[in-house]
Amino acid sequence: MTNSKFEKDVRGILDNHETEVNTDLLWSNVQAELYPNRKKKFAWIWFATAGLIVTVLMSTYLYYLDNTGELQPSIEYVNKTDVSNVEKINRSISANSSAIQTKKNVVENKIDDLKIRKKTKTQLKNSTIKNKIDKKSSIAIETKKVQHVGLSNTSLQSKYVSIQKKDEKLNQNLPTKSNIGSDGIINNSATINSDDSPQNNKAIKIDTTSTSQAFEIATNPAEVNHADETPIIDDSKAEQKIRTIEEPDAGETPPPILSRKLKRAFQVGLGLRAGISNSLTTLETRSDEFSELRILRSQSESNLETVDFAIEFLLKHKSGVYISTGVDYLRAARKLEFNNEVVTVDTVMGTTVVYVHPITMDSTFVEGKVERVTNTFARKEIYNKLHLLNIPISIGASVDYEQWTFGIQGGVLLNLLLKNKGKIMDSESTFYNLKNDDANWFRNNLGVSFQGAALVGYNFTDNFQLTFGPSFRSPVIISEDINPIKQSQVGLGFQVNARYWLD
């Protein structure tokens, strides 16, 4: 016997020996090393896309909000807008909208108020100016009188200094360009009178130079009489100016602002959607060898309902065409039913040994614990739930007839599998856990599917509408290529939308 014989024997014994090892754990570790972070990578792509869409929409909306403040035009354009609004409202009145009628009345009242306020303020301003001019004139006349009665130069000079001070004070109180527009309507009225009315300007100009003229009058009495003239305030011209403001020339248009045009053309809306459908699941084999597994799964699984909830952001053109996006959560449910056999082993008191006497044939029974095996068959149910997060991007169109609205919409859904729970059968005796998904049978990134809906609705107010109608969702393939069974789900159901259109 040589050592080579010993070694050959050892080789023979050890070569076929197998050591027990946790193969499932081993595979999951190997898989993690071979395909690192695969699931997370795709998840982040979809989250980033969703974030981008939401950000763009919200930014657009906020842009509109910000520009609302900037869109407050000067008093001229406020008036002009009001007038154009009246025309616009007049056109809308023909559609017999009670809400628009109310709006029209409000706007008309507003315009009337503005007119009255303007006129009143103009008159008030004119009368103030008139009073000031009267005061100045009386001062000039006084100066003249002093000259005529031949007061001494000293007293005349002191009198003149006091008059000059009064004159300066008056000049300070007169309206100037520098304080135009800082105080709203009153200042704007002042603008009209001081800048735009030639008559008024003339009157003021004559008066403000009257004191210096008066001093010169002392040497030229012939000209003093001119200072005695009372300035004329022509109210009809002021009114004409108001009319000019309210009915501007064709060339006097407001500066074009893009956001203003967009605001007129588009309307932003927020919506909530709820839907229910039947999750019609299709199971197909990738090759003939898995046909038994497909039959097993088809027989053991059945469809349940699919529910979905969504938040929508909408942008609607005045023509009725709109685009929408948002976030949609969808839960599809299926049921796994199978026969479950439970084997229970316990002990009961019973006869363990029977002794029979060989001669007398007497029997002796020995009592003790006897093992009992019970097989229980039961029908067992497991509910499988598929949780999806979708990013819908849809385009739709709607038409209004009186208070009713009719529309269609369609688009794409970017699907992301959040969670898959439950079990499916992968042989007659074993189950595959959907949550663990050890073999990576199910996809996290489900790609793109299509959806469509026909909607009928009712406009409860100008801003709020409720629509409902049938909906369709194209097949979503939820299985990976390595899954022996290709699994896809179609949605056919009903949806309800509540939408609020912002002004």
């Binding site: 050592n3 010993f6 050892v10 014994i13 050890l14 090892v21 570790n29 190997v30 898989q31 090393e33």
Partner: protein, 181 residues
């Protein structure tokens, strides 16, 4: 599930079919674990080596050209991984004072009653350097030149170490025989 042939598994793994990759792992892991345990000091260390080896096998399987035994190819990867990954002190052969013992034949009756696990434990009780050379030569069938290349030692060194390993094993077996007698 249907049991696939070795060729199907190899082709499936070459195509990176995860289902077949998993099947390969489930099918060959117990056999490869035995190999791994022969070159490591503990069960957890053997598991780590096996895991690394399987990753290498699945990564490099496209390089396997269906020539020669697939099992032998996989075993070689496990052995190489075990020898390279161990933070062992590179061949510090222990002098266990065996020079006075002459290498003798080991009678079959000495080891006939030992099962595979006991035999493996006996071999694993050898110092690491002796164990590796004994395993490579006696069980895997490597030549001394191959062992020298693999362990970065000379072939004569491999021969002498194998001789020492045999003597030590013989001593252990004789002790065992006395104990059981």
């Amino acid at each position: 599930m249907k049991k696939r042939s070795e060729i199907e598994l190899i082709e499936g793994c070459k195509a990176q079919d995860q289902l077949l990759q998993k099947e390969l792992v489930l099918c060959y892991s117990p056999m490869l674990m035995t190999v791994s345990m022969r070159y490591t000091d503990s069960y957890p260390a053997a598991q780590d080596v096996l895991q690394d080896s399987l990753v290498k096998i699945l990564k490099f399987i496209p390089q396997y050209e269906n020539t020669g035994s697939f099992r032998a190819w996989m075993k070689r990867i496990v052995i190489n991984t075990a020898l390279k990954s161990k933070s062992r002190k590179r061949f510090q052969f222990e002098d266990v004072g065996l020079d006075h013992i002459h290498e003798q034949q080991i009678a079959p009756n000495v080891y006939a009653h030992l099962n595979a696990v006991e035999l493996m434990n006996l071999i694993n009780s050898l110092p690491a350097g002796y164990r590796e050379i004994f395993n490579l030569f006696a069980i895997e069938g490597y030549s001394h030149n191959e062992i020298g290349d693999l362990l970065n030692i000379t072939s004569s060194n491999s021969r002498s170490q194998l001789s020492r390993a045999r003597k030590l094993l013989q001593t252990k077996l004789l002790k065992l025989e006395k104990m059981t007698a």
